[in-house]
Symmetry: C2
Subunit: 448 residues, 2 copies
């Protein structure tokens, strides 16, 4: 039994929803369907969720919002007409919007209520459409499905109580269509997950019903071994482990909302990333255990936008607590760090640029100077990180050599290297203007 989740592009319009219909009809194992809100139909289009966020902004600021409501209704109306399903759904959607807008609930609950309407309406539409093609489909509200969450508007966390309730869904008849992106608190207040939260719903449902497979339908055939914006038409990854996926998600691999994988990961449910527009393609499987037959290095991830805080002090390694105090100063400024490779008398802390502001930098530098009394301290910008990813890669002799040879052949100096004993990845820090060259050289070394 499978859980199939369809992203925004898979339900963007009637034509896409018809593809969803035939995918579900095609495999009787697809019993649970989770849907996002309709996404963009073309590049310049606006996602329904973004329209609803604008609506909630206007409403909470007491501004005129009728135009946006009409735009949302028009989008759903077009889909409903083209799919030839009952008009009553449109009335239903309109009523949902009005109920939230005119309700007595708090501002925050209004925002979550409006945001959830995209997914909720889409689930109703998909369920009705599946009936028209002869399937025994039922819309199921997350409240009735048993998705119980914490009281954190816009950032709800699933509560463990959910899973028993979700398991009960197995007994239900036919195909169950559930809107993604939200759940309900114990006292039945609606709360949305963080952005991209339909993936979270899919993963929770898959874990709850103990699915054999969680299918995540997107608009790409698979995960690629390298960023296709740097290498056109790169090799596809057919299978990888959760840990590998997570390392790849870190940078340059936007396919997956990686936090979403957590429930599926913990329940050891295999995940398959597939393409709604090309369902015959095998996609990419994400599994718990590395297949010993498979290739050692599965991919090369990369990202720019990193800075390096560098501190040196003679005899630093004799000072108990030096590294800890340095990290404490960063934490006090709410700066999280990525890596902290060190020499004997120095420490580099690699930080994403979005963690830094001019004020935070000043505070950090002043405190380090005062409290740690270093010889040199600097913040250096413009680094790119390259991760060579593959579980167990380091027990294979020569992977480090192959990687470093790729940099040398491209005449790139490696500024930082970091590899723990995890054996899932090795990280190289280089100047960002060398990134494309580095990726090309590594791709040729490992895949071409």
């Amino acid at each position: 039994m499978k859980v199939a989740k369809f992203g925004g592009s898979s339900v963007a319009n009637s034509e896409q929803i018809k593809k969803v219909g035939s995918i579900i009809a095609d495999d009787t194992e697809r019993k649970f369907v989770v849907v996002s809100a309709p996404g963009k139909r073309f590049d310049a289009d606006t996602k329904i969720t973004d329209l609803l966020i604008t609506l909630s902004d206007l409403a909470t600021q007491n501004k005129h919002y009728t135009g946006i409501v009409e735009e949302v209704i028009a989008r759903f109306s077009e889909i409903i007409h083209e799919l030839d399903i009952p008009e009553t759904i449109l009335t239903d959607i309109n009523q949902s919007i009005q109920t939230v807008l005119n309700g007595e609930s708090s501002e925050q609950m209004k925002i979550d209520g409006l945001k959830s309407i995209g997914e909720d309406s889409c689930a109703k539409i998909v369920s009705e459409y599946l009936k028209t093609i002869g399937l025994n489909a039922h819309y199921l509200n997350p409240k009735d499905a048993g998705i119980i969450v914490s009281d954190e508007p816009g950032n709800a966390q699933v509560l463990p109580e959910s899973y028993d309730a979700l398991y009960e869904m197995r007994k239900r008849d036919g195909i169950i269509v559930i809107p993604g992106f939200f759940g309900f608190t114990m006292d039945e207040r609606l709360m949305t997950f963080s952005r991209g939260g339909s993936d979270i719903t899919g993963s929770i449902v898959a874990a709850g019903v103990q699915a054999d497979l969680y299918e995540n339908f997107t608009d790409v055939d698979s995960v690629y071994v390298v960023d296709p914006r740097i290498i056109p038409n790169p090799e596809k990854v057919t299978k990888l482990t959760y840990k590998e996926m997570r390392e790849l998600s870190y940078s340059g691999f936007g396919v997956f909302h990686d936090e979403a994988l957590m429930p599926a990961f913990q329940a050891e449910i295999p995940v398959c990333i597939k393409n709604t527009n090309n369902p015959g393609s095998p996609g990419t499987m994400i599994v718990s255990e590395k297949d010993p037959q498979s290739r050692c290095v599965v991919g090369i991830a990369s990202d720019t936008g990193f800075s390096n805080l560098y501190v040196s002090k003679y005899l630093m390694n004799r000072e108990l607590g030096f590294g800890r105090r340095l990290l404490q100063i960063l934490e006090d400024e709410s700066i999280s760090f990525e890596h902290a490779p060190s020499g004997i008398d120095n420490m580099s802390v690699i930080i994403r640029d979005n963690q830094l502001t001019a004020e935070k930098e000043l505070n950090v530098i002043n405190r380090i100077k005062q409290e740690l009394n270093p010889e040199t301290i600097s913040i250096d910008y413009g680094f790119a990180m390259v991760m060579v990813v593959g579980e167990g890669m380091m027990s294979a002799v020569g992977i480090a050599e192959k990687s470093t040879a790729a940099f040398a052949e491209a005449n790139i100096s490696i500024e930082m290297i970091n590899q723990g004993s995890s054996e899932v990845s090795v990280m190289f820090g280089i100047r960002k203007d060398k990134l494309d060259l580095a990726i090309k050289s590594l791709y040729n070394k490992f895949f071409n």
Copy 2:
């Protein structure tokens, strides 16, 4: 003007002291001489400092100590007779010992007082001997030299006030012979430095008198590029920077008491390591700035006795403060760490085995489990660390490749890699049984 420091083996007996005399006579720039206590004359011999430590142990425990006093006196007596210098020095030494033994001072001050007698007596002897060979030499007590230290018996730290007083020594006539290893507090109580502290005195004096060169006479011709116990007769290092020396001292390079270099390092005084038994050999120069003409990699240091604390947790890198809290737990158990290479969802902390006890390990593991809730946690023993050292090495393309190729060619898998942006070294963690193989392969790659 030069400061020449002579280690224990350089003043172990009259024959060695004669070598010291001709080294000093040979170069009129050698104005300041710092001496250790006489060391071992042969392998099974006992250093005078160790005799004095035994003496202080017996004295403080009210045990019979006359035999040890006689042994110390006999050692000095032999030297004095063989050098043919006045017997009065021996009386003087005996009186110094009796004064401390029978004095009213605290136990801790007695210990420091007795320990200092080896260096102090040796300075008196060397100074008298230099006179007999026609040099205008004078013994100078550290109190009169102006070496002012903190009130920490056995671990005194030099106070900044010392340097002005030391600078005044430049005005003194002739050759000044100063005992190493101790100084005096502001209220004139004698305090010793930590073990190996004659190097500290030498370095302080060199910084204070603003010497052109600090010569450190030992019993080896130079620093070697690799541990000569692993590679017989390896290449010599003719010149290296302070930072490189420090990275090499980290492991396998016991030539230097690295803390001792601090004052010379801060005053940018060049240091030369030379051999009393072969003073014509150029030795190894330690300087502030890398010579751009010199070889990129200066040496390969290595050491065994490391453990790896490994912690993994899905989405670890989203938890602000995870790394800091992990290091805090170690610090609470007074465990200092060497490196902390990390992946996305894991962190390895490399710790010297001497930092761990069964009890500490248990405490650390329990607290990490309770407070950080990781997926996996383990402590793995039996690692060796290999450091490829060379300032600026990483801006040279291909050094990482050359290093990793050496491991691959020796069929050794690299368990950890750590390189900050310091560009002074790159660290490789391997299984300790592979260490000799790794060093041989790296030596062949970089030096042979």
